[in-house]
Amino acid sequence: MELVVKWLPYILAGISVGGQFALIAIGYTMVYGILRLINFAHGDMFMIAGLIMVYMATALPLWMSVILVLIITVVLGCTIERVAYRPLRQAPRMSIMISAIGVSYFLQNMALYVTGGLTRTYPTIEWLQKNITIMGASTKMVTLITPVLTIVLVIALVLLIKRTKIGMAMRAVSRDFETSALMGIDINKVITVTFIIGSFLAAVGSILYFSNYTGIMPTSGSMPGLKAFVAAVFGGIGSIPGAVVGAFVIGICENIIKGLGLTTFSDAFTFVLLIVILMVKPTGLFGEKNIDKV
């Protein structure tokens, strides 16, 4: 029992952070699944969503800010795809990857310009900050909400992909661009929908994640973005369940390491995990072997 009381807060925090990473990781993995592109700007989108929240909340009621953050982030995500990725559709894969890195720096520098490099205070969402007690461990509402919301969104997403017309089109496009187009599927529409979903989930993740922190900086997106990327690779990039499992594993392990008093090494652990997985099982937990078409 004593053990439970000691470790439960860390595990709860781990599950919560894991859920937030999962919401970002899905964006990485879906875009990779369809475009074979690692969207390096995704972590910065997450940061931008946070900043939008900061500025919205100064003028508008919180509920309205939350809705606007979701909408603006989605619009921004689609705009980036249209401006920076779509014109390079026929270009070699490396070009579009470099374009993504460019967008990443562009967003960070825009944020630097707008914030003046100062840490901005993230608005407090009272309801998420409420203290609750689970099995004797005291924690915040957001810790409980995050995994629940993550699981609900992931189930909804999996159903969308398995059961609906657009989901089927997404699966077809992820297999074979050319054949999909020849079956009458509008590739650009499918890609836009992918970016809508990815950006939406990143925005939700951003609200939950930054609620745990007081401030937000232009570089605040890098670390969670990188960790979510590691989660996606760990789970097998391209696989949605893989990304979710990977994110929870990373979140929980990091917090257990913190609980052991080794906080300094928690980030290092994540990247060691990346190296190990790439050496032992480069396709990740649920990834499939990529057989190149002849």
Partner: protein, 279 residues
């Protein structure tokens, strides 16, 4: 002769860098016809298919479907100086429809090397192709406002599978089917887009004589039942000669003969292209 024209390919040249893959090809498919496109390996047959379906934009020439232009181009930019084909200057417009738009206008195709969607079931492979005829948009379908339409579509997809004897395999992974059935599924998937013109790229490849005989009858049946025209590339001569109304012969990208099966069989240039010349 008053035939309704479905496809008209006029003076198509497809040049990749310095290589002319298709040279000044013109052909026509009329309503209800089954047309053969034959020629030795590397003659440019599949390239011609890729131009018709919008995978490649032609370097020069025009493709029309039911009288409306689906592709038109003339040498531009760097190609202007490199162009080796004929009829330069005859075409001035530029229309390049993407493959999905052309499919929506009524051209469907199968592939020489089978290209079914891996990881999707037999039924899903057909449904994907059927979806573009659905009215419900992205969000309507996500929220399932269209249960009736969806149910009707599934029924239609099952009808197609039944026609090809695939109804028992509907939940199997498409790529787990035996080879012959995969070929049939590709045709079923193409038909699911409700085409007016079906392009078959070596549908009998890898089939034994009995299977290709069955395929031949199937193609005839499809023409009647779906009221469409067929343009097929095929190497099995008994299939081509047995079913085609007219045949076009390509060699080194250029048309060397055109006519009914009998004329083609007796055409010295065709025999030469296939067998070589006696010294």
């Amino acid at each position: 002769m008053n035939k309704e024209n479905v496809l008209r390919v006029s003076d198509i040249t497809m040049q990749f860098g310095g290589v002319v893959a298709v040279n000044n090809l013109s052909l026509e498919v009329n309503k209800g016809e089954i047309i053969g496109l034959i020629g030795p390996n590397g003659a440019g047959k599949t390239t011609a298919f890729n131009v018709i379906t919008g995978v490649y934009a032609p370097t020069n020439g025009m493709v029309e479907l039911n009288g409306s232009v689906i592709a038109e181009n003339h040498p531009q930019g760097k190609m202007k100086a490199q162009y080796k084909g004929e009829n330069a200057g005859k075409y001035t417009g530029k229309t390049v429809l993407t493959p999905d738009k052309i499919t929506k206008k009524g051209i469907a195709r199968t592939f020489q090397n089978i290209r079914l969607f891996k990881g999707m079931t037999v039924l899903e492979n057909v449904l994907v192709a059927m979806h573009m005829n659905m009215k419900a948009g992205v969000f309507g379908s996500a929220l399932r406002f269209n249960a009736a339409e969806e149910a009707k579509m599934r029924e239609e997809a099952m009808d197609l599978l039944r026609m090809f004897g695939l109804e028992g395999n509907k939940d199997d992974l498409a790529t787990s089917l035996p080879y012959g059935k995969q070929r049939h599924l590709e045709i079923a998937r193409a038909l699911a887009t409700k085409p007016q013109l079906l392009l078959l790229d070596e549908p009998a490849a890898g089939m034994n004589p009995q299977e290709s005989d069955e395929l031949m009858h199937l193609v005839g049946k499809i023409r009647e039942q779906f009221d469409l025209s067929v343009l097929m590339i095929e190497h099995h001569m008994q299939v081509i000669m047995g079913i085609c109304d007219r045949i076009y012969v390509l060699d080194y990208g250029a048309l060397i003969a055109e006519g009914n099966p009998e004329e083609i069989q007796n055409n010295p240039r065709v025999i030469e292209a296939y067998l070589g010349v006696d010294d």
